[in-house]
Symmetry: C2
Subunit: 566 residues, 2 copies
């Protein structure tokens, strides 16, 4: 460190050539919003000089491009991109995201603390600075069979790991408000540290009580009024624009240079197709500016405010002493990323190739109590006034509908005419043979079945279909693959994506995953599927903390009363 | 902590009455600058509810006053107020300063690490939250005899004390730039922690090199251009308005709601007369607004930005979960402080009386090698082309002047006609019998002598006078008192202020000190004294890091060449 400080000082002061100089850029000054022609001098992983001309041992011509600080994704689940942290690194860093604060929440629900070990191992080897917030609510509820339980004592083991920031989204806000013992354990363990919030629609005194527990951020605000109340009450709002939840349009009016110290960006859940088609945090910046946000405010939110909100004092500006996380843009308003530097290294294929890749963990996580037969999906009953989950396209909340359905010797039947399919959730953590059974309206399927091992948050197997045979085949194939997505039609597997890492992530390159997802989407459309993102929509149907009607391995859940539907 | 969290959540959520409710205030919202009518609910030392009505076990009527977060003085030397930390607390907290980050730099130069022990003991018992930054440059130079040397190993002992933030003003910027070993030791010891800067007039690449060493703040910027360069390079600028250095007028134009995340306030050195006449951080806010700064920007600088720059995540807004440091104002623009709450307690005499006062340390610190006789002040030589310090009123920089002076059997003589007095510095740390001798122009004295044991930064005794007998008496009296200020005229002590705590601080109430200072000022005026602050001006004459001509116990120092004047 001593020698490094000497080198930084000498190179910053111009007493010796810098390790690297990015010459001929226009620095987008986050203080005034001016573009200032300059060189950027870099020593090791740090910027040491700006607003001046420098000599360097290595010189890269910035070609007059605009330099902005590397972007920070303040809250996301890497697992939602369906790829490993290393592939996420390779996929997202070229979009300018030099820091990502992830919550390995999905993997932790399957594997417990082994998920932290895996993510921390990866985080020490990715090019981007991957930081971890420890998953605070595993499992999300008791109304399902989860793969693991993480208590405060387990979380504390990881608290002082240098890659760990604090506690991730504290979703169990009713538990905080009611003083639930396991919530209190965690709040006490991380008191005076960082605790991320998660409080959709929470307002007024209940919001104040929740924040008073020591919670600093929130990414669930969906209206400007809600976000304003939250920042007035001391939170930093992480404006979210993911593949499912899209809040930027609603919150953009709040983001100005005057308020930018209170607002940052996050993606939460973003799949590789959307990253390819739209982008990542660069997309949020671009969209914010297109919605009328001043570039100064957008770029501050993407770096400076994010860094400050999470105590990352070594980044957020392009300035001496800070990490050399730099994005060179061809266009400021369009956030057109041309080149990215991560800790002083130009991001390219060779840099990714030089990483010391950690072997994936979590193979063989799909453990059924017994093989599934088609008859296992029979729904007994009269078919009268049957509860039916009503899908709302592009939303994760559902409607609680009722319908009367035909009954045969195989039980209550789906009805393609009314777009009502059967849906089942099969426990897959090797703990029991639970199967939850019910009906769902809105997938548009005329035939076949879709199944997924991604089913928030316990990630049991969920399958939706028009006949029990295809559904059973889909589950069998998922089990064989160790997890993934599969589409079955008339006894044949027509498309699939294996996700053998905890049943959540592929072990293949992101380009392969993207291609397989496109094939799957195509196959589902051929089966009549009408949803833009059928597997994403399916993945949220088992999540019993989001209203109104959901399904777990225990059965259909009325979320409003937190009880099983009879 | 567990029970406290439960209470905070319940009281914030309104499930039980709050410990204290300040009813009927208008909250000055630091997000938008709006005034929002509300109650403020407090549990213990924390705010738990705002923007709502609350029931409380104790209720205080805010009478429609404006509520703003408590002010933070980001850099100051308590010793410059000439009173103990407890008296400082009692004097300054009613001005709304609920947090003060002090550098016990003056006392440390006299007593070494015992100064840290004393200040930390006090800091654990003051009402205000007194925080310590550890003095980084003791002594300031080798061109004087100091009372102590603090190396990196000694500083590290205190690094993790909960009241310690980091390292205070790193004044030795030439040492940082040249890689001086003791500077590097300290930079390494506090790397990744907080290091305050001190870089007057430093610009360009040398500034970049200095910041690249890991330095985060600066309070020495005297022009808006200098401050803008520094914040662009990642520093937080602490706008200073003290008794000697006044930078607010120059820097105010830079402070807007858009730039407020980069600027905070500090007083550095402020004496109790000025605190009485003008105020403290409240004065800076008032003056900033009168200079055209938007109230939103001024109040953010005074709390939110200051808190964030120093990693004080538990304050900076009036919001749930944060410290209940609250100032109620009768007027926002005039920053008219009506009531102050410190960690949920109404500030009043009873609260101060309840403190567990620590006995002062550092008596008997004025240790002369031998008693001083008038003849010890004789200046040998021809009187030709004698070096004379030229005072510039209200500045700590001086001019290097020359004059030809009369010579008698008692050596070179002062000249009241040309306002040239003799000035001597007497070593007082018991290490040697050094006396530095020279001349100074600008005090306006026609007769008599002034002496002080406050002489930055080594705090040897300095005496200025028109005759050696009065000068010797002044030194004798200072020695007797254990330090202080004294004015002597024709063999008689006409006014004095004892500062027996390390020769720097009084052990009396601040009101007494203020009164004595006024008497001293009066007495000096009667002796012809023309300076507004003669003792403050005197105190900076031994400081050999400020250009151009200074005096230490070794003799007259040419600061530009850092050498003794022959």
């Amino acid at each position: 460190m001593r020698d490094e400080i000497v080198r930084r000082v000498r190179q910053g002061a111009g007493a010796e050539p810098a390790d690297l100089v990015i010459r001929n850029v226009r620095l987008f000054d986050l203080v005034t919003g001016e573009l200032i022609p300059t060189d950027i001098a870099i020593t090791g992983d740090r910027v040491v000089g700006v607003l001046d001309c420098y000599e360097g041992r290595e010189v890269i011509d910035g070609q007059g491009r605009i330099a902005v600080p590397g972007f920070i994704d303040t809250h996301l689940h890497v697992e939602s991109s369906l790829i490993t942290p290393f592939e996420f690194d390779r996929c997202v860093l070229p979009h300018g995201v030099t820091t990502a604060i992830c919550d390995p929440h999905e993997m932790a629900n399957v594997l417990g603390r082994a998920a932290f070990d895996y993510f921390l191992n990866c985080a020490n080897r990715t090019v981007m600075d991957l930081r971890i917030n420890l998953s605070s609510c595993v499992p999300a509820t008791g109304l399902e069979t989860s793969g693991a339980v993480l208590d405060a004592a387990m979380l504390e083991i990881y608290r002082h790991n240098p890659k760990v920031i604090g506690l991730a989204e504290f979703m169990n806000f009713p538990g905080v408000l009611s003083g639930q013992p396991d919530c209190l354990d965690k709040l006490v363990a991380f008191a005076n540290g960082h605790i991320d919030g998660h409080a959709p629609l929470l307002r007024g005194k209940r919001l104040s009580g929740y924040i008073a527990a020591g919670i600093h951020t929130d990414h669930e605000a969906t209206t400007a009024a809600e976000a304003l109340e939250k920042i007035r009450k001391g939170m930093t709002i992480l404006i979210r624009e993911g593949s499912v939840c899209k809040d930027l349009t609603a919150l953009a009016p709040l983001l100005t240079p005057e308020t930018s110290a209170f607002l940052a960006f996050c993606t939460d859940d973003r799949n590789p197709m959307e990253i390819a088609h739209e982008g990542h945090i660069d997309f949020l910046i671009r969209k914010a500016i297109s919605l009328g946000v001043a570039p100064l405010a957008a770029y501050r939110a993407a770096s400076l405010t994010a860094a400050r909100a999470f105590g990352l004092r070594d980044r957020g500006q392009i300035a001496p002493g800070l990490r050399a996380d730099i994005v060179l843009l061809d266009d400021l308003e369009r956030c057109a990323v041309a080149q990215v530097f991560s800790a002083g290294r130009l991001v390219n294929d060779a840099l990714f190739a030089s990483r010391d890749i950690v072997p994936p963990q979590g193979y063989g996580s799909v453990k059924l109590a017994a093989p599934i037969a088609a008859t296992d999906f029979h729904v007994p009953g009269t078919g009268q006034n049957q509860a039916v989950i009503g899908i709302i396209p592009d939303q994760i909340i559902t409607e609680f509908r009722r319908a009367t359905l035909d009954v045969t010797e195989n039980g209550v039947q789906p009805d393609p005419q009314r777009d009502i399919a059967k849906i089942c959730v099969v426990a897959r953590h090797g703990k029991n043979g639970n199967i939850g059974r019910g009906f769902v309206q809105g997938f548009g399927l005329s035939t076949g079945a879709l199944a997924s091992s991604v089913g928030h948050d316990s990630h049991n197997l969920c399958v939706v279909g028009m006949n029990d045979v295809d559904m059973a085949l889909a589950i069998a194939r998922l089990t064989e693959m160790g997890g993934g997505f599969v589409a079955v039609r008339q006894g044949k597997i027509v498309a699939e994506l294996a996700l053998p890492i905890a049943g959540l992530m592929s072990d293949q390159p992101f380009e392969t995953v993207r291609r397989d997802l496109e094939s799957l989407r195509e196959a589902v459309r051929d089966m009549g599927g009408s949803l833009e993102e059928p597997f994403l929509q399916l993945a949220f149907l088992p999540l019993p903390v989001i209203p109104h009607l959901k399904i777990t391995d225990l059965g259909m859940i009325d979320v409003d009363t937190m009880s099983l539907v009879s």
